[in-house]
């Protein structure tokens, strides 16, 4: 206890303004991380952060300073089919379902899953479902190959030859575009679970 009470007087005595600034930053970050328990707004912001579904990139970038290891319950689903709002089909051979520890959006933004997801078809539908307390955020995303004319063309048919992304044919990799197609909030009342 003594150490914590001595820091501020010592820092003032030594004119250590940067030290006081660092203390304020750490204190602010601790408060920010704890607010998700009490504030629905901050809880929603934390969930949006994990989904890359917020409105402001600069705010998200600042939020990245808040530690969030193994936060929330995060589950994802993926299929190579472009299914829009329809339910996923677990019988589909490209269907993948997983529970992730944190940053569930990484399933598509980080490359380690790309060979599994996009080797056969550079497209798909991706859903993230995250829960914290009484609040659930479900976002759905469509990944389509960049078309020479318009991205919408790519939605119409699965193009098995398009952008084979360095596969056996060795053609030039074709950029895939991620697009959000839905975002839903579910807030449960006390004593009632999520669907």
């Amino acid at each position: 206890m003594l150490r914590s009470t001595k820091f501020i007087p010592d820092a003032f005595a030594k004119r250590d303004l940067l030290g006081l600034g660092l203390l304020a930053m750490i204190g602010g970050t601790i408060l920010w991380s704890m607010t998700i328990v009490f504030s629905p707004t901050m809880r929603q912001m934390a969930l949006e952060r994990f989904h890359l579904a917020g409105n402001s990139f600069p705010l998200w970038a600042v939020h990245q300073a808040v530690p969030a290891m193994y936060n929330m319950e995060n589950r994802i689903q993926f299929t190579n089919r472009l299914i829009g709002d329809k339910p996923f089909d677990p019988a589909d051979e490209s269907y993948i379902k997983r529970t992730l520890n944190h940053y569930p959006a990484r399933f598509i933004t980080f490359g380690n899953n790309h060979p599994v997801c996009f080797s056969n078809q550079p497209q798909g539908t991706f859903e993230i479902r995250s829960v914290f307390g009484d609040t659930e955020l479900v976002t759905r995303w469509e990944i389509t190959p960049q078309s020479q004319h318009t991205n919408l063309d790519a939605d119409k048919k699965p193009d098995k030859t398009a952008g084979s992304t360095g596969g056996p044919s060795g053609s030039v990799p074709r950029t895939m575009i991620v697009r959000q197609i839905s975002k839903k909030w579910n807030v449960t009342k006390p004593g009632v679970g999520h669907e």
Partner: protein, 278 residues
Amino acid sequence: MSDRPETGDSDVASIDGDNRTLLKLVQAAILISLVWKARYFLVVSAIHSQFPLEHPFFPWVLQRLETVRIAWLLACVSAGLILFSQTSKNIFRLTALNLLMLIVLSIHQKSFNDVTFMCCAWSALWCLWMSTRLHEPFESLFPRAAWLTHLILSMIFIGGAVGKMTPGYWDGTVLYEIYFIDRDFWTYNLIRSLFAEESLPNVAMWHARMVICAEWVCGFLWLMPQKVASIVAVVMLCGIALTNNFLLFSVVTCLIGLALVGLHEKRQPTKSPLTTPA
């Protein structure tokens, strides 16, 4: 021109060697963190060039593969150069560069998800502060420096603990699905060999509760006596990587570096024969 070496020499002479040692200790830990997963990063980087993907949430420059490669390289180079730097100016500039690159890695589309960079960035921020205090006598700086390391570690543990205050973690479901069903690692293989399949959810529940409680305890490192806090943090951080995934040493090594600061002992000055009692 002739003044420069003198200025540098006087600068170096007035730096307290123990302050510099502590800063370099943490920078070395950051470097190990960054290099620990180098092979993994290289493989993923190659995959990214084969499967280019654009996410409109990120600004263009923070989607480019070149950006993440340069940032990682500069973060490693700056951390390495700090280990050989002597003047406070050089140490400050390199630490600032190191922090900037780690921030880029923490918000880049292809690396934001790796908490290695967030943990390294907080460690680098502490180093940046230290680099401005190198001339302060060690005896007055050390208590503040050690306490700040424990406060940063507490903040990181609190961030983890708060995010688990949700039913899925408390009842063990999340950790059961992530680790207990099929994770191929010695601890989970051992647990699966010791317990019947139907009792694994119950084991996962108690494991999850133990993790949450341990994180909350570590959230109060800043209130513990200095050496106790450091030892508790080192044991906890090593335990996380040793029992879950050796790749996690990329995340915890920089934090172990911070924790080790509190265990530092001031170097005893060499006794001159003239001052030695007969």
